[in-house]
């Protein structure tokens, strides 16, 4: 590089202390002005910059770990023996993996859902479970007409792990089967997933879903439970409400992973189930969708499977 000035050393007597006085004064003046300008800029930056730069939206302490199983029991409809079976099944599973159970009664939410169908009660029930367990990370809603058939399987290794979830989630599939023009995202990552849900043959099925605690959960549940959705007379009430939200609101869909039905919502037979949605031995969950529609107090179909589970549970406990 070419220097405009030769090095100072080569010029004897040209050191700064020998600079003429006026030059020094000039330099001093310049320095003072430079300092003043910098100071003013500093003041400006100090006073005019807005106080906060973060765009963080988290308004609650982040949940760290833990799973809460939310089961909504209808004490007016179910018999006591039926309820005790369901409770035993859930408590066994929770005990094995250190999960927490949250049993809610439909009648508690009578005021909340008002004139709308009773099945809407599951939404405030999950919200309630979140309020009661603010530090838990996952909320697993499971319909009362279902049994956990493979209790050794933890939710984490079965579904929640990153590699597992990303490999099983359905990508670029119609959100509502069979031919919704809205399709699930094909580039979704586990860290962006706040809701895991399955489809049956016609709809997204809210009988079994996992929701991650946080701002999204509040948003999703509050939106879903909006009075205008409840009063709309959706033929399948909250199920169609969910279909609707999923197809119209990308901020919900973009945080939702749809997984194959048998991962967490296998039907007892293929009626109404998606392709390959019927229960096979070894599946985590068995659902009895027909029980929800019938007017019988209990769920006779469940009896056989409960016995199988009981036997397995007993033999495992004894061994």
């Amino acid at each position: 590089m070419q220097f405009a000035l030769p090095p100072r050393k080569s010029v004897p007597g040209a050191r700064s202390s020998r600079l003429p006085h006026y030059r020094r004064k000039q330099l001093k003046t310049i320095a003072i002005f430079a300092f003043a300008v910098i100071f003013i800029l500093y003041l400006l930056s100090h006073f005019s910059s807005s106080s906060s730069t973060s765009t963080s939206t988290s308004v609650a302490p982040a949940a760290t770990a833990g799973v809460v199983i939310v089961t909504l029991l209808d004490y007016e409809q179910f018999s006591e023996s039926y309820i005790s079976k369901i409770v035993a099944n859930r408590e066994d599973y929770a005990k094995r993996h250190g999960y927490t159970n949250f049993f809610a009664s439909v009648s508690d939410y009578n005021e909340a859902f008002g004139d709308s169908p009773r099945s809407w009660a599951m939404v405030p029930a999950v919200r309630h479970a979140m309020a009661r367990n603010p530090t838990s990370k996952y909320f697993f809603h499971l319909n009362a007409h279902a049994l956990i058939m493979n209790p050794a399987q933890s939710l984490k290794s079965h579904l929640l792990e990153r590699s597992k979830l990303e490999s099983v989630m359905l990508k670029d599939m119609p959100v509502v089967p069979p031919d919704s023009i809205i399709r699930t995202y094909s580039h979704l990552k586990e860290k962006d997933v706040d809701l895991i849900v399955t489809q049956d043959s016609e709809d997204l099925n809210p009988g079994s879903f996992i929701l991650k605690n946080g701002d999204f959960a509040r948003y999703f549940l509050d939106l879903w439970f909006d009075p205008l959705f409840r009063s709309y007379n959706f033929a399948k009430a909250e199920t169609h409400g969910l279909d609707h939200i999923m197809q119209w609101h990308p901020t919900v869909l973009s945080r939702t992973a749809v997984v194959p039905q048998r991962y967490m919502n296998a039907f007892s037979d293929s009626t109404g189930a998606s392709a390959d949605g019927a229960y096979k031995d070894g599946d985590l969950i068995i659902r009895f969708p027909a029980c929800g529609q019938s007017t019988t107090r209990d769920c006779p179909e469940l009896e056989a499977y409960y016995k199988i589970w009981q036997k397995k549970y007993k033999s495992e406990r004894d061994s």
Binding site: H21, F47, V59, A112, V252
Partner: protein, 454 residues
Amino acid sequence: MSLSRSPSPPPGRGWSSPGLTPGSGSSTPRGYSPSGASLAPSGISWAAAKAKSDEVRGYPSFSTRNSGFFSRQKHRISARLPSFRGETHSYVDKHQYGRAHHRHGGGHGPFGVLLWRGRSRLVLGLFLLWIGYLCFWSTIVQLYRRSALGGGRKFVIILGSNVEGGVMEWKGAREWAIERNSIWNKQQYAKQWGYELEVANMLAKKRYSHEWRESWEKGDVIREAMRKYPQAEWFWWLDLNTWIMESDTSLQSHVFDHLDDRVYRDINEYNPMNITHPLPEFYLDDLGRALESDGDPDSLNMLLSQDCTGFNLGSFFLRRSLWTDRLLDSWWDPVMYEQMHMNWEHKEQDAFEYVYQSQPWIRSSVGFLPQRTINSFPLGACGDENNLQVHYQENDRDMVVNMAGCMFGRDCWSEIHDFRELSNKLNRGIWRQLMDSWRGTYDEADSTDDDDGQ
């Protein structure tokens, strides 16, 4: 003209101003008369030092006579000073000499002269700085505010213009005048503080017409602006019929540096719609039932004001965040719209009032500003009697006026015009007045044209 270049020695010690002696014209004082520079403090002669410094500089061409604008100007400016120096020179010289003598204990006769030259340079420098300040300071400040350091880029003003333009009714001279003036007003404000201004064209579109409605237009416009200005944090929606009265007030100093004091989150403080707050539902978490959400200003994502009948979205802020994405996404919903379109006369405003009440997650991030902070009304909106909560107060120098509802039986243009004149009157600054005087008169003429054009 006194700036003539013919040499005429002033009284006293002869010509001492730089510029006319041989070798002058440069910006360094090399051309001073030898008598004034016989010895430098160190004992090295001035001539020798000068030669050395020439050597060091190695820029012979630099001393070319009148080579640059500055040297010419400097001569002109300095040529005005000799009489002053001539008059006081001898006295001050003695004085300075004495002092120099006292301090250094040596004979430094020329030292005082040098000092004096330094002082005149100081005066000159200050003068130039002052000129520079007058001409460029506001530009520099604006550039700074626009820069990453200044924080101006964090704010975008979105102005809805051309409302239903060209379809519902033809725009007349008054409508054009309103539009032009309102845009100019926001342009000035945005420029002054380094903000971005997005003028949104609210032309009637099929997708926003009643039968086709796919979303709320305001929401779409804001989303668009968020995409366009990825660095911005806060987006300020302003209706066309608004006037920023105090353009010298920044948004930061007015609102955002004091979110704690300026914003109330408990709607009971002013609750014209009697919204139940906090929510009583037992199944909600503490946040959902809190009176003031979490109380942390960082969780505020929307700031708006209420008028005498409820929420007013003529002037409101949205912050870029996940919360805002969700609001803009869920604000309009076909199932809700289908049921409520007959009731929601004010479209997104009514819809927002609804979701604020029905969905707890929204409350957690909404804050309210007292109406007159960002949305003063003129008399005639919300009643004709002066209401200290609602109406513009000249003495308090309210920042923004919103001629809300002026299209219903009032005269939008005359209201805007009056407030514009009032704002000009109130903000007659000294320097800005000078700078903007030509623009003010231009605008004056402009508005007269508009008046004539009706």
